[in-house]
């Protein structure tokens, strides 16, 4: 029957097209049991599509899926889940208002007499899983109350609960801190030891070398390589991905900072429950410089940025000055009209409208800040011209301006949003995680764009969970810890270790006041 060795999971000759675009072009993927198989490739290479096929969300146009020698025909995602395929999506799919355990058992509840939910049995099984795989999560906490790194573990427990043997993780680390990544990898190693199989999609090559047993590289919908980490260097791998050398180093010149654009004095922000999230923060941004704020997720950077952009209120005594004008507690509309751009971290909720078209997403904000010739009617010539510029300059891979945003790949959505905000003639750009989910080739390119913006005399406030990014780009670096802003020196003044320590609270004493 089989003329070569049998793999645990085989996807053979998978073809999937969307209209005229072939997202998967005859892809064959072979995965051995109890290994970590990394799936890497440029944005839009077809990774998510391939995994959506494996998990029964899409049907392939051609090709077959074989697990343990048995040919599979998944009718839908429930069917795939029943057959041991579990997928953790990049954008979490949890209900905020339900508790952790309710989310885990959702739609797969154990029942009594086939009707009544057997809460006790559900709980026993979930607790068993957590014990077996060393997950330590508060089962009765509301999902909205727990940090992202735990959410990820909830998602993993969820697929284990459904009986997953093969677990797909689509860019799981792009929302995690280095500590979170270590925790995740520990969990992955443990899963492997227990005979589970992991397919990991990531853009971070360091992670691939840290955990993968085997690597498959996709490019333009085709397989361009299948290697073991021991047989290849990081540079060679990057080369295989994007077809050229990748340095991942920003080409930064020293800058001569201009006048002050943004001045923040005594900024204090409380959340809805009245907990202080930003404590008495002072800093400024000058024309022509990038000010970077590093910090572990959940340290208050979200609240800081939202207060600056008018999305949440600052406490009494706080003052935010833009070009000398008081903009404390303004609205996002005011901010845009004054020439402040904003790239939010949450690209599908705040950054984009998944149901909208490419052009509808491209002109948002620009239509307020800059506007078109006609204030009443949509001028599609102007709109297309602007949208095309965003798409072309930022290499957004799309089939046209009328395509829906949700059909773009994750990284391409990100590029569209970054492009939209960068291309406008703003005086100040507030950026959160600009390269989240973007492939290594494109990261360099986005960095270059940001540096070019500052060379035009504009200021950038960069908030990123990627310490390397902050260090490569920023003229001045701050660390936010527990809502307090700590100075971390100028460009290349402190080492990665020193700043890393500050991020964990090992800094000056005033942090503990």
């Amino acid at each position: 029957m089989q003329n070569e060795e049998q793999h645990y999971l085989e996807m053979r000759n998978i073809v999937k097209s969307f209209g005229p675009l072939i997202a998967n072009n005859n892809i064959t993927l072979k995965v051995e049991k109890a290994t970590v198989h990394a799936l890497i490739g440029e944005n839009g290479a077809g990774k998510s599509t391939l995994m959506n096929i494996l998990s029964g969300i899409y049907k392939p146009d051609y090709g077959e899926i074989i697990i343990d020698g048995k040919k599979m025909h998944f009718r839908n995602s429930f069917d795939a889940a029943k057959n041991g395929i579990g997928m953790v999506f990049q954008e979490f799919m949890l209900f905020d208002d339900l508790t952790v355990i309710e989310n885990i058992v959702y739609a797969y509840e154990k029942t009594r007499y086939g009707m009544f939910i057997d809460k006790k049995k559900n709980r026993e099984k979930v607790e068993q899983i957590c014990r077996d795989y060393h997950f330590n999560i508060p089962l009765d906490a509301k999902v909205s109350e727990i940090p992202v790194s735990l959410l990820q573990q909830v998602e993993i427990v969820k697929v284990l609960y459904k009986g997953a043997e093969i677990i797909i993780l689509d860019e799981p680390t792009s929302v995690l801190t280095p500590q979170g990544v270590q925790g995740l990898f520990k969990a992955i190693r443990f899963l492997i030891k227990n005979g589970k199989t992991i397919i990991l999609i990531t853009h971070k090559l360091k992670e691939v070398f840290a955990i993968a047993d085997e690597i498959t590289v996709l490019r333009d919908g085709k397989v361009t390589g299948n290697v073991k980490p021991s047989e290849i260097t990081e540079n060679e791998l990057a080369n295989m991905m994007v077809g050229r050398e990748v340095l991942l180093e920003a080409d930064k010149d020293p800058v001569e900072p201009g006048e002050v654009i943004l001045e923040v004095k005594n900024l204090t922000v409380k959340d809805k429950e009245g907990v202080v999230r930003v404590k008495n923060v002072n800093f400024d941004v000058h024309a022509g410089e990038i000010v970077g704020i590093a910090g572990v997720a959940g340290s208050g950077q979200q609240f800081l940025v939202e207060a600056l952009f008018g999305l949440s209120d600052a406490e009494k005594g706080s003052q935010i000055l833009f070009n000398g004008k008081d903009i404390t507690n303004g609205t996002p509309r005011d901010a845009r009209l004054m020439g402040i751009g904003y790239i939010p971290q949450d690209r599908l909720n705040a950054g984009g409208n998944p149901q909208g078209t490419i052009w509808e997403n491209a002109i948002m904000g620009y239509h307020v800040a800059h506007g078109f010739k006609s204030k009443v009617f949509l001028d599609h010539k102007e709109i297309d011209e602007f949208s095309d510029r965003v798409v072309a300059q930022f290499n957004v891979k799309t089939q046209g301006l009328n395509e829906k945003l949700k059909s773009l790949s994750g990284g391409n959505i990100q590029k569209l949003i970054v492009g939209r905000e960068s291309i406008q003639d703003n005086k100040l750009l507030i950026i959160e995680d600009p390269t989240r989910g973007i492939d290594v080739g494109a990261i360099e390119f986005v960095w270059e764009k940001l540096l070019a913006i500052t060379r035009e005399g504009k200021g950038i406030l960069l908030v990123s969970h990627e310490l390397n990014e902050v260090m490569q780009l920023s003229d001045r670096i701050y660390v936010i810890y527990n809502g307090v802003l700590i100075e971390a020196g100028n460009y290349h003044e402190k080492t990665e270790q020193e700043i890393g320590l500050l991020m964990l609270g090992g800094g000056e004493d005033d942090v503990w006041k």
């Binding site: 029957m1 073809v15 005859n26 996002p332 307020v368």
Partner: protein, 379 residues
Amino acid sequence: MTSGNETIAKPKRFDLTSGIWVEVARYFFSFIGVLLLGALLIYAQGEDPLKAAKLIVAGAFGNRVAIGNSFRWATPCLLTGAAAIVAFKSGVNNLGIEGQMYLGAFIAAVIGYFYKLPAGVHMIVCLVAAGFSGVIWMIIPAVMRLFFRINEYITTMMMNFIATLFCDFFVIWVIIPSLGITTTTAATPNIMKGARLPSLIKGTSASWGFLLGIFCCVFVYILYRYTIQGYELKQVGENLKFALVGGVNVKKTFLSIFVLSGFLGGLAGGVEVTGGYYRYVSGFSYTMGWEGIMIANICKQNPIALIFVSIIWGALKTGAMNMERGTALNRLTVNLLQMIFVILVSIDFEGIFKFFDDRINKKKELDKIIRQTGAQNAN
């Protein structure tokens, strides 16, 4: 722009999977389906389906009067449908169109009877006042939504009851006693001649309200399709946070959705009074407001499709009355068929077409790709 992946050159042809043809096919097949089911239903009641169908068509389009009546009954569908489309397209659940309609009708009837104004002006004042009474009725849910986060699902629905009961109460306990008349129907007296909408087709019940309805549909279409305001309305409806971050004045936009939808709902009532009944009659609407919501969904919130569906709806209504006169059948038969039409139209034909289209066309192309790239790993 489109970099990377090579493309399958699709043969240009009559493509059933996209755009307008799906819609046309959807209505066509639904219509055939309704005809077949209707024939069966009528036959089962011992009547001749062909005769019944003839009576319906004759009743709807047979002569000038028939056409006029069809237009007359299409009118409320146009306006309530437009009110529903504005709301739903922007993510507002206005279930209160019925109530706005009642209030609009009541106000138009009161102004039309009690206040003497120059002819024409009188009519316009009645209509505008009707519209604004709908707006006021919608402001309450809007405020509760914007400032207290109470979903308008519930509030607009509750406002329906308040509106109908309030109007009836006022007519029965205030207006009728004050006039010193005795009557068996809870209704206001007829409005003055100068407050009435001109007739559209002489000798029929079709008024200029029909044109006003079409105008409103076209207005809504242009608003969403061609204006910046419409673009913002759509984005606010689809993703509020996105619009907020983009600098859209979300509160103002949201409020204008409530206002516009309420105005159209109130206007529908005003047109019923100034162009239809010439007075406020308790229970006049027969759930016209709810029908608007249903029709808006049938035409997938497309205001131009709404015009056609409304005319079909009006035609069926008048046709059904004619059928009732000529046969032993009840007009509820037609109502039943209307509902079946709703269900058939809602079927996902696109998915079904796509399924077959994919099967037939992709197969060949795929074989080619596989041959070209070589099926290396196939066994």
